[in-house]
Subunit: 432 residues, 2 copies
């Protein structure tokens, strides 16, 4: 309760006494930041103008070397932890304080873009460089972290929150290497992963700058998104059993058409998910009909369900509504549905204080802001197990992501890094 | 018009004068017929109890040798035509008459059953055997024909109706042989196909006995189906273009979900096809979503449409209704549909006189009958280009076909062959 009661007007007054006035005028070097992003994009550049730099690839290794060079230039003390994350440390002035962490990732999906993860990574390094150039010493130690293999399942950040299992390490990644082999390839040590795990309370907080990967900010022409939280992701494999039969000789009223049942189900998912207010999403992304011929009434369909929301109870409510409708579809079509949950991640809300600080930092810089959820997963959701987190979004053109067409303007990138810088300065002044 | 005015009561009276009374008491030997079917089923027998005897396979060749042996025992003059069809001839008493043809096929689909085509083939041979044993001489010459490769596209019967093209002959079949190679393999001569083509009027008529391959007769416990005609088959490849996007970050109201559009389309096809009376069928049997991941709103769907009916105008009407609804779905979902027709066969109605004769023959034998369409394709639809046709169906358990579970009872098989025999006798007495 003490924290909630923090007196902001008092802070603003005291801050101007404690810190030199110039600290609030600090700005990152936008030209340099965008230059760094452009240089980074050379590693794994595709003919379509995107980036193919999957974790543990040769391009990933080159990009990591490049990023470590920039981090040393920013006067960070650089190391690779046993999980393969790149960590750059800057000492704080108060030995009793836990570190503030900022960062993101520089690996990409196959044939992806040059902004996802990369804006936050180069932005965090630029913030450190700005602090160094201006001789600004924070009270908290600063850690700039580039997490390895975010796109393959937030592996590097997960390694801070919990010990990676043998099962995790055996996963074959897009690089064709297992995660174990990948960690060795990028300079980690899969036998010393215990050394990487942090305890709850070991960190004062984590802030990640990222492109929105959705179209809200771009569409509404808003500068900065203040992330409410990272939605829980729930995936089910759905199997529908009917009866395969000759499409020419089986009368319409004697069919048990698994694809007709699937059609009614897909339509129902859309109707149910959009029937209540909010920003929840429901998606059927996969489908296959068996045997899958012009000439045969499908006897089986394999399909999927994905539900995401910041509120796990709402996801459960939607799932139950879908189940109720599925029971009716089964009766109407003579089919049987089976749902098997394959992924379930809890929503990771951001910290209310961090949201307020980000919003204030952005407004103080003259930017418009909007509170919004992150529909995509991020390293921050893993770090949320350890400390309060915040996320800063910048606009992503047309919401396109994981594509060579992914794009954010240099101005928006500069704005985002300045908000990250001032968020960090404000958090550093707080008793976290 | 003369034929339509045929006086049936007069015929019945005159027939009993012209033919010895015993002709109407003739019965095929049901035990022998079922024994032959059982022996035939040994060629390509599968562990599941079905038959794998694709055209041009070693099993097909063995089965053909077996059938020719039976045909010779039935006193037929057996030859293999240039297209590879097995033709068994029995002379008629009236040199001016064109031949009456009966028959079917003995090739199967991969991993199929032991009844489709085989009942009609063994049944036709049994009819010839019965005539021979009883010294019944028809006025018309009789041709018992076992058409080759029905399951691969009614190839053998098509060769009677039109010259096979180089394109036809180049098709690679389930035997891995091209049709050209297959014809050579079974003793035909692909360079002499012109000799096989019949002219319209060369035949007095064609009658085929077949299992229903649908469940109507079995379900309603009816002995004999009198086939109204073979439906036209119309297939379209359907492509739906939307826009692929991140399933977590793209709000529901900003999606162009090709799979949601597909779901509405599949439901519409079912609703429209069942909205008018009749036995038309409409089927969506194939579907694929691209890219097809839990995590991505599908940007493209490849699916299908199949429409069948005895009335081509009704098919056109249904297709137009579907198109009208598709235009609405496009607007509602922000997608674009494309229909590409890949198959279009005209309905092949059976001859009204033949239907009447079959129905009377069946009733005279004490059987219940039902008029019904054939939803599946048959050799008869090719022969319909040359002469009037009729088809006799017997019940098929649960309507299951093209499966090891395909089954018709020995009694139903015997019944069907007796109806074929008496249909032939009645037709022989007519001025066709």
């Amino acid at each position: 309760m003490k924290r909630r009661a923090f007196n902001w007007s008092l802070f603003a007054a005291s801050a101007s006494l404690v810190f030199p006035f110039s600290r609030f005028q600090l700005r990152i070097n936008g030209q340099r930041l965008n230059q760094h992003l452009s240089e980074l994009a050379q590693f794994g550049k595709t003919p379509e103008g995107g980036t193919h730099r999957v974790a543990y690839s040769a391009e990933d290794l080159q990009a990591r070397d490049y990023a470590m060079k920039l981090m040393r230039e920013a006067k960070l003390e650089v190391s690779v932890d046993a999980a393969g994350n790149i960590v750059g440390r800057r000492a704080g002035s108060d030995a009793a304080r836990k570190p503030l962490m900022i960062g993101s990732h520089i690996d990409s999906v196959p044939a992806g873009g040059s902004y996802d993860g990369q804006v936050g990574s180069m932005g965090a390094i630029e913030v450190a460089q700005t602090l160094a150039e201006n001789n600004v010493r924070l009270r908290h130690p600063l850690e700039v972290v580039l997490f390895q293999n975010e796109e393959g399942g937030t592996i590097g950040s997960a390694a801070l929150a919990r010990p990676l299992t043998d099962k995790d390490l055996s996963i074959v990644t897009n690089s064709k290497k297992t995660i174990r082999e990948g960690i060795q390839f990028i300079g980690g040590d899969p036998d010393k992963l215990a050394s990487v795990v942090r305890k709850k309370g070991d960190l004062a907080g984590y802030v990640e700058l990222h492109i929105e990967q959705g179209g809200l900010l771009h569409q509404e022409q808003i500068n900065i998104g203040v992330v409410e939280g990272i939605v829980g992701v729930n995936w089910w494999e759905v199997t529908i059993d009917g009866f395969a039969n000759h499409a020419g000789t089986t009368p319409m009223n004697q069919r048990k058409d698994a694809l007709l049942a699937a059609a009614k189900y897909i339509d129902a998912v859309n109707r149910i998910v959009t029937s209540v207010p909010g920003r929840q999403v429901g998606t059927v992304g996969k489908i296959q009909a068996f045997p899958g011929a012009f000439n045969i009434v499908p006897g089986r369909v394999a399909t999927s369900l994905g539900l995401r929301d910041l509120d796990a109870a709402k996801v459960q409510m939607l799932y139950e509504k879908i189940q109720a409708e599925v029971r009716q579809i089964e009766v109407a079509t003579g089919t049987k549905f089976d749902f098997k949950q394959v992924t379930s991640s809890q929503p990771a809300p951001t910290d209310a204080r961090f949201r307020r600080v980000i919003d204030e930092a952005a407004r103080a810089l003259g930017f418009t802001t909007k509170l919004l959820p992150s529909g995509a997963g991020h390293d921050a959701q893993e770090i949320a197990h350890l400390c309060p987190i915040g996320m800063i979004f910048i606009p992503s053109r047309d919401g396109i992501s994981h594509s060579p067409r992914e794009f954010s303007t240099p101005a928006d990138i500069t704005n985002g890094a300045n908000v990250l810088l001032h968020t960090l300065l404000k958090l550093d002044a707080m008793n976290l």
